[in-house]
């Protein structure tokens, strides 16, 4: 296991280098200055740009520039945001907790719902309840997230007034108090639900099918023959087997959450890194765009790694 982990980590190094080269090349294709953020892309005066380019070493050979960029990156210097006039690192760190909070809430909701619905459906397949859940799942998988989001805002925020439609916190609340945290949770529930709906639907359906399949197995029959109660069979024997593939989804979820967070955060104007990314594209704040692209790519790579590793942890039959 440890040697496999090490091998996987080593195998990631070329990918990391390749990704950094791709991001660097993309940044070179962008107008203005995506690295240090010192050149304002909205100031189009030729002399200004030329002077800044010379000062910042943009006329150096490409490999030298790449090396300088990677060195800065390793030292945590991602350049300066032209919009916020602050180091990119600070801007991202400011928003990152919001996104992590959203992602974790979304995961918790996803897992609770998927387990409850999936276990119910799997235990009583082909009943009315199962069919209703299956229809819900089909909708959750097929209907695009943003449409679900605006319909959710329309009904839950405007018609029913249960949840706020934007932001992450009501202004003016004192940080750290009970009301502060309740308000944050209140703000995060709706975006988290829409963000997690796709995963919820696919997990539920997966768990249901797996339980139905497992309940035909010989070990279930012998458990029944021994007189084990139905609930013990489903909750202990079958669930343990059905849970294995589900756990590995967690890693891939990171990638889904990233893609989803960009759109969901923008719709709910939730101040996380997804919305920061879109705003940075709009305001041509390329230093931020490039740093976030790199961050998103690394997170995806990391997610795949976790998925692979978890596979070995939860399923003792797998040997490396």
């Amino acid at each position: 296991m440890i040697s496999y982990t090490l091998r996987r980590l080593l195998g990631m190094i070329p990918l990391l280098i390749l990704i950094s080269i791709v991001v660097f090349s993309l940044a070179k294709l962008m107008p203005g200055d995506p690295f240090s953020g010192e050149i304002d892309p909205n100031n189009t005066s030729v002399e200004y740009i030329e002077e800044m380019r010379e000062n910042l070493g943009y006329n150096d050979p490409i490999p030298v520039q790449y090396q300088r960029w990677v060195t800065n990156l390793a030292q945590g210097d991602l350049g300066k945001s032209t919009t916020y006039k602050k180091p990119v690192m600070d801007v991202i760190l400011e928003r990152l907790p919001n996104t992590i909070f959203l992602a974790i809430t979304s995961l918790i909701i996803t897992y609770i719902l998927a387990f409850t619905l999936g276990m119910y459906s799997g235990r009583k397949p082909y009943t009315l309840g199962d069919n209703v859940i299956a229809t819900f799942n089909y909708g959750g998988i097929a209907i695009p997230q943003y449409i679900i989001a605006i319909v959710a805002i329309y009904f839950f925020s405007f018609k029913l007034g249960w949840f706020p439609s934007n932001g992450s916190i009501t202004p003016g609340l004192e940080q750290g108090t009970w009301e502060f945290w309740m308000d944050r949770i209140h703000h995060v529930v709706l975006p988290a639900m829409t963000l997690g709906l796709f995963s919820t639907a696919s997990y539920t359906q997966f768990l249901r099918n797996d339980i139905v399949q497992n309940s035909q197995m010989d070990y279930v029959r012998s458990a029944r023959a021994r007189g084990t109660s139905e609930s013990a069979i489903y909750n202990k024997h079958i669930l343990r087997n059905s849970i294995i593939p589900l756990v590995t989804f967690f890693g891939f979820d990171l990638a889904t959450l990233i893609g989803g967070a960009i759109i969901t955060e923008t719709i709910f104007t939730y101040p996380g890194i997804g919305m920061l990314f879109i705003n940075a594209i709009d305001t041509r704040d390329y230093a931020v765009v490039m740093s976030l692209t790199l961050l998103f790519s690394f997170l995806t790579l990391f997610g795949n790694l976790i998925a692979d590793l978890l596979y070995g942890v939860v399923d003792p039959r797998i040997r490396y």
């Binding site: 990918l15 097929a142 209907i143 879109i278 976030l292």
Partner: protein, 301 residues
């Protein structure tokens, strides 16, 4: 003796091809047939829109802004006084064009890479597949947004084509991987050896002999891709970085719903595109599922 032989021949002549079997199986599925009908209808209506509607979709008419649905404007007008019904039709044109064209290019690139990797094997396979793996590790949405911004920044292509190019460049990984797997198992068959031994060039073997046998898989994949790109286009336009706002697309029209007032009080502006996207995606999915079952030799119905 003779009559039995003749009936045998007759029976053999009646044997259906894969495509006939699939078509018959597909026709029996009501949901898939209804969806296919709806899909063809939507495509047809969207593409004849310029010839049957008289309204100008880009003209701003300040006297008729935000009107509720009436006999003159079937679905009302938006905040620039443009007819929502006409715009929905035009929007369908743009969204479907992007979806269909991207699907075509992605399938083309994916099948080419996949079949070359699968057919030649060895270092070619290794090289192409590592590259495919790399493309697949990149977060799709993020790179689509960045590349799209770069392409539009260069100013050589319009929003619609830059999206098609970006989707085609980043989306082919999945198809390539699936086609390669299929070709790998398919090329072990004797007909491939026969084709090679009578002197077919590799390109001929792949195009004439191997691809028809993996075509069913490719078609099912292509259907799913069509849905994925329509969703992606509308999503990107919805958050304001896809097709430019002057051109109506379903995503662009949905963008109006980001204004609280429109979302809350003027549902006729955002409901039509939302319904169109949802129904289109659902019917593409139903058709895809129907095709999958129809092509599957294990299902009998």
């Amino acid at each position: 003796m003779e009559p039995t032989v003749q009936t045998n021949i007759k029976k053999q002549q009646k044997f259906d091809s894969t495509w006939t079997i699939a078509r018959k199986k597909f026709m029996k599925r009501k949901l898939a047939m209804i969806s296919l009908g709806f899909l063809l209808f939507i495509i047809f209506v969207s593409f004849i829109a310029p010839y049957v509607t008289s309204d100008d979709v880009t003209r701003i008419d300040m006297q008729n802004i935000n009107q509720e649905p009436s006999s003159e404007h079937w679905l009302g007008t938006d905040r620039n006084g443009r007819d929502v019904f006409t715009r929905t039709l035009y929007g369908g044109r743009v969204s479907l064009t992007i979806g269909l064209t991207s699907m075509f290019f992605v399938t083309l690139i994916g099948s080419t890479v996949g079949s070359i990797a699968g057919y030649y094997g060895g270092w070619v396979d290794n090289l192409l597949m590592r590259f495919t793996d790399f493309i697949l590790t990149l977060p799709f949405m993020v790179f689509v947004i960045v590349l799209n911004a770069i392409l539009i920044g260069m100013g050589k292509v319009t929003g619609m084509w830059s999206l098609i190019i970006v989707f085609s460049l980043l989306g082919w990984g999945g198809v390539a991987r699936i086609v390669r797997g299929k070709i790998l198992s398919e090329k072990e068959n004797e007909y491939v050896l026969a084709a090679r031994s009578i002197g077919c060039r590799p390109s001929q073997t792949i195009i004439k002999h191997l691809l028809p046998n993996v075509m069913t898989t490719i078609i099912v994949q292509a259907t799913l891709l069509l849905a994925a790109y329509i969703v992606a286009e509308a999503g990107l336009s919805f958050i304001g970085i896809g097709v430019p706002v002057e051109i109506p697309s379903w995503g662009n029209m949905l963008m109006e719903a980001r204004q609280t007032d429109v979302l809350q009080n003027k549902p006729w502006i955002w409901v039509p595109p939302a319904v169109c996207i949802t129904l289109t995606i659902l019917s593409i999915n139903f058709v895809g599922e129907g095709l999958k079952d129809a092509f599957d030799p294990k299902t009998t119905k």
